[in-house]
């Protein structure tokens, strides 16, 4: 006779009946107790339907009571706080919890997609890929969104998460992962010796498997004693609700502590989760084991659960999953689950694979009125939304056993995930038919069920030994106290290797519940020739869900091994990778969100820009003045006006972001001569020179100007983008290649504020602002440099030009940057001096054909940029030899050209693909546009680009295609120097 399914017992368990809690499931008000999980509360309310399956939309219930749960996934909370895909088995119930089941359309209780169940014969593994990848490219792209929606997990959100997540770094002598009997014993043993111990457990309570045992047994007294002992030790930290999700190099463990999940209250101000990066001298893995389900027909019907889960719901949460149970197994451990059910009044039949079992166990079963079928196995379950019966084979006959809960156990798989993360493969132990941690790094040990020892007694002994060892590794002498053992009734843990499941005569036999992968799919994968378990996984999606196959991988490996006539260790396991359980992106991001996503660098002149109408823009890590309001109300108007102003009067721009490097020493000239392609050995004091540096492979690394201020002292500037790269490059050469050179390099980027004063009136501006100093051609010729003193402040003045106009770069100590800037603006006001921003700065150089960041992409060579003539023939320089390779000298290489727009009313765009006007526009084209501007001088759009054969094509017409906007614009190849080819403007 089958009963009505799950119900709450009137007494017992570890729940607090004095603290009732109210929560809602899809709007429906339900009740539970403090100490419940969402899963136990739902079951306590008699609700068995926890969700619909991924592919076939079959009704599913909870099969587990812990993190391994594959079926019962929920979306918790609402708005920005909603979190999808959380197993109900790990959610602590709290007052006001809002939960919704997933993957039902319109609802989990009535799901139209369940029709997929009827299509099942065609929906096997590989179906989607085979059908929708199709012969036509792109068909998968078309179908994928529909398929994904039909096969839904929870939805990710596009709403900002209002909660705060924190990051913490921590240290321990000994980290113990798992606070079950082994972990508690290990932490106590290590702590007694004075070691600094961190003990973590993903559960809300310490105790591990003991929490699934009777709450009044001898183990419970032992557990409480250990917790009291740990609490009294000052060097021991117990972190509950904390998952060790990954093990990394150097004994670094990633931990997520859930601070707020069980009592959310934004007003309290607690971080929702904390990501802890913990380093430990020694680690004890006491991570426990996960029960394997049996594979038989329709083994996914609600009410078919893991035998241990049925026990845990009963003993911990006082929820009986039914009134009539069948426990199908191959091992003694499941018999104790059966006995536990029987003691609480559930009718139990044990369906045991073995022909004989321990006589004492049989006697205990008999006295508990547990019916026993030896040498038997389940064939298929009966029932739709709730299991009603199971057909078993016993002594060659088939029997139908009525039941409303069916617990299955094919043995226990140690949790070897964490200890395998650094690449140590788990090893198979035939005596327990399971994989255990595969040897350890010198600072690791494992204990208890994680080590293959299911007995609580063994776990405590092993945990104690592991704790002592770990403490010694960490340099503590933990003393000689022996383990304190719980006075536990003797148990046996005999088993027989689980039979390899056979394809059921009736129903579907699920191996992976979350991925809806059946035994037939695994056979199919084998028939298709997928021989490795890694291929099996990818073909069938087995083990690829949010549960990562915690209940399915071991069974799948067994089936695959048998199909291939291999032993289990020969078939092997898939690779274990972090995270052990899903972790939120919020926890990983911590406080590095929004404004704090990455550090921001500000120029010493930043505050002035912001206060004086600048619109700022991110340029790498820098915030730079983009354009100023004085010049127009939009970027398009303003940068053109700023350009016009520089070309006709005088402008001032902030160039503090340029890399600045002090190069000093007796060999500085020789050093510069080696790193630049052009000669620097004879640069006189008081002069600056433009130089280009190559990488070893002859691509251009950077360009910039270096000025010589005295015999042994140079001031190098680099581009903003490559400043750090150049600094490291110089240090690398000095320290690894040429240690004989007596040169020191020091970054001065943050120490000097820089500003460019450009335009035909720039000399007058300097003369007005810095009276008493001579800026005439004779005193400061083009490419001249001087250090002057103004009001006791040293300033560096370089006469050089990026814009093509008469121009100066002035450098002041960073603290005096704004003083110099405002002095220039104030004193030169009669000349109409105005600030100009990054956009016009970059546009002025395009008119002059100066290559900059967009052209210096570490793929272009000196010759590509039209700078080949700069390379010295008199000396060696970095990159000289490899520059001469034939492919780099090929005249057909993409190289720098100018482009002028031939269509008025249309614009050129950066990134446009270039085609010859006469050819069809197919493929990747003959080059692309790197930089674009409106030319004030030419009154048309102009651009720089890289083009096949470069300047050989001057005069040729091209089409600039921008497929993203469907644009095609005609342009002509011209010299990249659009303006003042002779450089006369530099000498006004």
């Amino acid at each position: 006779m089958s009963g009505p399914g799950p119900y709450r017992l009137p007494a017992g368990g570890r729940i607090d009946r004095t603290r009732p809690l109210a929560f809602t499931l899809e709007g429906r008000q339900l009740g539970g107790y403090a100490g419940d999980t969402l899963a136990s509360a739902l079951l306590g309310n008699g609700l068995t339907l926890a969700g619909r399956s991924f592919k076939y939309h079959r009704p599913r219930g909870f099969i587990a009571a812990g993190v391994e749960e594959p079926n019962g996934l929920f979306t918790l909370g609402s708005g920005g706080r909603a979190t999808p895909n959380v197993p109900g088995t790990v959610v602590e119930l709290f007052d006001g919890l809002v939960a919704a089941r997933q993957n039902g359309s319109p609802s989990v209780d009535f799901d139209v997609m369940a029709v997929n169940s009827l299509l099942a014969p065609v929906l096997g593994a590989g179906f989607y890929y085979k059908t929708f990848m199709g012969p036509r490219r792109g068909s998968w792209m078309f179908y994928e969104p529909f398929i994904r929606r039909a096969a839904g997990l929870g939805r990710a959100l596009h709403i900002a998460d209002p909660d705060r997540y924190e990051t913490r770094h921590a240290y321990a002598d000994v980290l113990v992962v798992g606070a079950g009997p082994a972990g508690l014993a290990a932490a106590c043993a290590a702590g007694r010796g004075g070691a600094r111990v961190v003990l973590v457990d993903q559960d809300s309570e310490a105790g591990g498997s003991q929490l699934g045992e009777a709450a009044d047994g001898p183990e419970e007294a032992w557990r409480r004693e250990r917790l009291a002992e740990l609490a009294a030790m000052p060097g021991v930290e117990l972190l509950l609700r904390t998952t060790a999700f990954g093990l990394y190099d150097g004994n670094t463990v990633g931990l997520i502590e859930r601070r707020d999940a069980h009592q959310p209250d934004p007003a309290r101000g607690e971080a929702r989760e904390v990501l802890i990066t913990l380093r430990a001298k020694a680690i004890v893995f006491a991570t426990g084991a996960i029960e394997r389900p049996l594979v038989f027909g329709d083994n996914d019907r609600p009410g078919v659960v893991l035998a241990g889960a049925a026990q845990t719901y009963l003993e911990r949460y006082a929820v009986a999953l039914g009134r009539q149970a069948v426990v199908a197994t191959n091992n003694d451990r499941a018999w104790y689950s059966a006995l536990s059910l029987a003691e609480k009044g559930v009718g139990v039949t044990v369906v045991e694979q073995r022909a004989t079992v321990d006589s004492q166990l049989l006697a205990r079963a008999e006295s508990a009125r547990v019916a026993v079928l030896l040498g038997s196995r389940p064939l298929y379950a009966i029932g739709a939304r709730q299991v009603e019966a199971v057909v078993v084979e016993a002594a060659g006959k088939e029997l139908r056993l009525g039941c409303d809960v069916l617990g299955s156990s094919a043995g226990w798989a140690p949790v070897v995930h964490l200890s395998s993360h650094t690449g140590i493969r788990p090893v198979y132990r035939a005596d327990i038919d399971a994989f255990v941690p595969g040897g350890h790094a010198a600072t690791h040990c494992s204990a208890g069920a994680a080590n293959g020892s299911l007995s609580g007694w063994d776990a405590v002994t092993e945990g104690h030994e592991a704790g002592l060892r770990a403490a010694r590794i960490a340099g503590h002498e933990p003393g000689t106290r022996t383990a304190v053992l719980p006075d536990s009734p003797a148990r046996t843990y005999a088993f027989e290797t689980a039979r390899i499941p056979e394809l059921p005569r009736r129903g579907k036999a699920f191996v992976d519940f979350q991925g809806d992968v059946t035994l037939k799919d695994v056979h199919g994968a084998h028939q298709e020739g997928y021989v490795s378990v890694e291929h099996l996984k990818r073909y069938t999606t087995l083990g690829m869900g949010t549960d990562q196959g915690k209940t399915s991988n071991v069974n799948a490996v067994g089936v695959m091994a048998s199909l291939r006539h291999l032993s289990v260790p020969e078939a092997g396991t898939t690779t274990f990778r972090p995270p052990y359980t899903p972790i939120t992106v919020g926890a990983l991001a911590g406080r590095s969100v929004g404004h704090h996503f990455r550090p921001i660098r500000r120029s010493p002149l930043h505050d002035w820009h912001v206060a004086n109408g600048a619109t700022m823009i991110e340029a790498g890590p820098w915030l730079r003045a983009w354009w100023y309001a004085w010049a127009g109300s939009t970027i398009e108007k303003a940068y053109v006006e700023e350009m016009r102003h520089v070309r006709s009067a005088v402008g001032i721009a902030d160039v503090s972001t340029l890399g600045k490097i002090d190069v000093q020493g007796p060999d500085a000239a020789e050093f510069l001569n080696r790193v630049y392609v052009n000669g620097f050995a004879k640069l006189p004091v008081g002069k600056a020179r433009y130089g280009v540096m190559l990488n070893d492979d002859a691509t251009v690394l950077d360009d910039g100007t270096t000025a010589r201020f005295d015999d042994t002292r140079y001031f190098m500037t680099t581009t903003t983008a490559q400043a750090a790269e150049v600094m490291s490059h110089l240090e690398f050469l000095l320290q690894t290649a040429w240690p004989e050179l007596d040169v020191a390099v020091t970054s001065l980027t943050d120490q000097w504020a820089g500003m460019s004063v450009a335009g035909p009136r720039s000399r007058q501006a300097l003369e007005l602002a810095l009276p008493g100093h001579d800026f005439t051609d004779a005193a400061l010729p083009h490419m001249g440099c001087r250090q002057i003193e103004v009001d006791g402040i040293p300033l560096r003045v370089l006469r050089l030009s990026f814009s093509g106009e008469l121009a100066y770069e002035l450098y002041a100590p960073a603290d005096y940057g704004i003083a110099l800037w405002t002095r220039l603006l104030g004193s030169a006001a009669p000349l109409g001096i105005r600030p100009y921003g990054l956009e016009s700065l970059a546009s002025l150089r395009i008119e002059k054909g100066h290559a900059a960041g967009l052209e210096l992409d570490h793929r272009t060579t000196l010759d590509d940029l039209g700078l080949g003539k700069m390379a010295s023939r008199e000396k060696a320089f970095v990159g000289r030899e490899l520059r001469l390779r034939p492919a780099l000298q090929d005249p057909e290489r993409w190289s720098l050209v100018g482009l002028e727009c031939l269509e008025s009313g249309k614009r050129l765009r950066g990134g446009s693909i270039l085609f010859a006007a006469v050819e069809p526009q197919k493929g990747h084209g003959r080059g692309y546009i790197t930089s674009v501007t409106w030319s004030v001088e030419l009154q048309k759009y102009i651009a720089l680009g890289l083009y096949d054969g470069g300047l050989k094509n001057v005069g040729q017409e091209v089409v600039c295609a921008f497929p993203l906007k469907g644009e095609q614009v005609r342009a002509r190849v011209v010299s990249p120097v659009f303006l003042d080819a002779k450089g006369e403007r530099l000498h006004v």
Partner: protein, 89 residues
């Protein structure tokens, strides 16, 4: 998290460093005009399993370039010294 012993600053997280590849090769002398030697130096690298020497720079510390010996199979750090010392030795 890989930890790197800096001869100046002590053991630090690898995030303070930048990596620059194989340090087991000798750079051709400056001015060497042997194209093949430069080609081999720039492009040809072994990918050994086991102990390997590589360049790291302590960019967020003393800015010194180190030669770090690391087991590529286990990520175990075997030792480090200043690149400058190695070149002079």
């Amino acid at each position: 998290m890989l930890r790197i012993p800096c001869p100046h600053c002590g053991e630090r997280d690898f995030t303070e460093f930048r990596y620059a590849g194989d340090a087991s090769k000798v750079r051709p002398a400056h001015g060497t005009d042997d194209l093949q030697a430069w080609h081999d130096h720039v492009y040809l690298f072994d990918n050994p399993k086991g102990p390997h020497r590589e360049y790291w720079q302590h960019v967020l510390g003393c800015r010194q370039w180190l030669v770090l010996e690391r087991d590529t199979a286990t990520n175990t750090v075997i030792g480090s010294r200043l690149a400058r010392d190695r070149v002079r030795a």
